[in-house]
């Protein structure tokens, strides 16, 4: 008969290790003066107050820092009123929001809340803007999308070009407040439905990248022109993308091609928030790293040998969901720190038309420079986002 008990020596070693761990609990003391240093720092730091930010109807469902399984707002909403920023385009530089309604986060919250409702976008029309499916309506009116470990919530009104849309980024896996979010917006050359008709508001030339950085977890985004927009949020724990449609400000607006606004100074990120490689090794023979985001596995060429400025390298995606019909694309763009609000210097790059074979998809993509790159896959039903550091 086979002995299925754990190996006794290994078990002994394990038990001993646990005893050691317990013994170690009583060891060590904080450095001399630590308490005083903390109190000095605290004396220099203002508390974040629950200031008004979100409409009253949301108040019951705003994430709380209390209790289990509750989401944590990525950062405080307290100081948001003075840190509000907007994504702006060529002429959209409206004053920052100064008036907010009271009541944000004034009651405990679990997520989703008891009156949250399931939600859906209008049926997708082939070839049009692939709006990311809504996950729910928080509080019955605020659309929410859970994607790549991040929860996006916006104000419950249709996005309109030039009009501020309040967006909150919430993480349900955060161990505490994670205040810093960089949001990027890229217009896609895809039509949106206006009164049920597909209308193509041609994207800003060259796939301009608009960016803001917020340290509040809540911000006002102002998409500069009507059309289909890819929004990507990057934070210390990952990256997440959604696709939204911004309607023209007036029903009679004509689909005139927009032009990108002037660039704002930007700097390279000191630390590229690269996605952690998958714990599962890549398939045998694949020379580069593997990343997993949601049901998708990304296989990338090795960072240091990726051909820059030339065709040749392909990245590969596996989908745990299979591949449906319809438009699929991979978009890559360099991440940078904008010194203000507006357009970054680089442009987004779209991969070749994907070739699908045996459950995997190959996409050729030509990157113009070594940089910290975000890669976004999107189709009619999903997005997947990873970040890879290709800097030397």
């Amino acid at each position: 008969m086979t002995d299925t008990r754990p190996d006794r020596d290994a078990q002994d070693a394990f038990d001993e290790a646990l005893r050691e761990l317990k013994a170690a609990r009583s060891l060590g003391i904080p450095g001399v003066g630590l308490e005083a240093r903390i109190l000095t720092r605290v004396g220099e730091t203002r508390q974040r107050r629950r200031l008004a930010f979100i409409p009253g109807s949301w108040s019951g469902f705003w994430p709380s820092t209390s209790g289990p399984a509750r989401v944590v707002a990525l950062g405080s909403i307290g100081v948001a009123a003075v840190l509000v920023a907007a994504l702006v385009g060529t002429v959209v530089l409206a004053p920052r929001a100064a008036t907010e309604t009271p009541g944000a986060g004034s009651s405990p919250a679990t997520s989703p809340g008891p009156t949250d409702a399931s939600a859906s976008n209008p049926p997708h029309v082939g070839g049009t803007c692939p709006l990311t499916p809504l996950t729910r309506l928080a509080g019955g009116s605020a659309p929410e999308v859970d994607v790549s470990g991040l929860r996006w919530r916006w104000g419950g009104v249709p996005w309109v070009a030039g009009a501020p849309e309040k967006v909150a980024w919430l993480a349900d896996n955060a161990g505490g407040p994670e205040p810093r979010i960089s949001a990027y917006a890229i217009q896609l050359d895809l039509p949106i439905l206006v009164d049920g008709r597909p209308v193509n508001f041609v994207g800003a030339a060259g796939s301009a990248i608009y960016a803001i950085t917020t340290d509040t977890g809540v911000d006002l985004l102002r998409l500069p022109s009507a059309g289909c927009w890819l929004l990507t949020a990057v934070w210390s724990q990952g990256a997440s993308s959604v696709v939204v449609a911004a309607a023209p400000p007036t029903a009679t607006a004509s689909p005139v091609p927009s032009t990108p606004g002037p660039t704002v100074p930007s700097t390279q990120l000191a630390m590229c928030p690269a996605t952690s490689p998958s714990p599962l090794p890549p398939p045998q023979g694949w020379p580069g790293p593997a990343y997993v985001d949601g049901p998708f596995r990304w296989l990338l060429p090795p960072s240091q040998t990726w051909r820059i400025g030339a065709e040749g390298d392909k990245l590969v995606l596996d989908s745990g969901l299979g591949w449906g019909a319809g438009d699929k694309r991979v978009i890559a763009f360099p991440l940078a720190q904008a010194a203000g609000i507006g357009r970054l210097r680089g442009t987004a790059v779209t991969g070749d038309t994907p070739s699908i074979s045996g459950g995997t998809m190959g996409v050729g993509i030509t990157l113009p420079a070594r940089d910290c790159w975000a890669f976004v896959y999107l189709d009619a039903g999903a997005t997947s986002t990873i970040v890879d550091d290709l800097r030397p």
Partner: protein
């Protein structure tokens, strides 16, 4: 009249939430040692616990007004400590931390306490031999991910049940159970690797 401890602590938290610095100082004082040890344990030797704890308490002060349930302070504090440690590890990725003691006495105390505890753990072992064993354990522990270290520390060092861990890591109890299982397996594997 004696104020029940829970009520007293809750009162302190609520006063600190209102911006009472003295109440916050008392909170810091009563949680400093346990927080420091927690961070040292989950940091896997890759962060300076002094720095991490300092940043964590600044975060706690800043965001305390947003804590709606003062009874949830303990798990919330743990969650902030995990977050601050994770952040510090990311910031030092690729950098090996070599701590230069700015106060020799603290290291001396640390070492003497360690030797005393070694003797308590296994009176038949020479303190030095046990220290070597602990070094090996430290290295094995350092091989784990911060999530694995956190769950082991919460369970074995803090004596937390699945519910308590679930509150800290904000995952359902079922997930905690499976992660705990995975963390144990990872520690076993790491110990074996150290033995080889």
């Amino acid at each position: 009249m004696t104020v029940p401890e829970d009520t007293g602590k809750r009162g302190l938290i609520e006063r600190a939430q209102q911006g009472d610095a003295e109440a916050f100082a008392r909170l810091v004082s009563s949680h400093l040692d346990s927080s420091w040890r927690f961070v040292r344990a989950i940091g896997g030797g890759r962060v300076d616990p002094d720095d991490v704890v300092q940043e964590a308490f600044v975060m706690v002060w800043r965001d305390l007004p947003r804590l709606r349930d003062s009874d949830a302070f303990e798990p919330w504090l743990r969650a902030v400590l995990v977050h601050a440690t994770r952040h510090a590890i990311r910031a030092t990725d690729g950098v090996r931390l070599i701590r230069i003691a700015d106060d020799a006495s603290s290291d001396t105390m640390d070492r003497s306490a360690r030797i005393r505890a070694d003797a308590l753990v296994d009176p038949h072992l020479e303190p030095g031999a046990s220290l070597a064993k602990r070094d090996s354990l430290t290295r094995a522990f350092g091989r784990l991910s911060i999530d694995q270290r956190t769950i082991l520390v919460l369970h074995y060092l803090e004596g937390g049940g699945l519910e308590k861990i679930s509150e800290v890591i904000r995952r359902p109890v079922g997930t905690v159970k499976s992660r705990l299982h995975g963390a144990r397996a990872a520690l076993r594997a790491a110990l074996s690797a150290e033995d080889r």
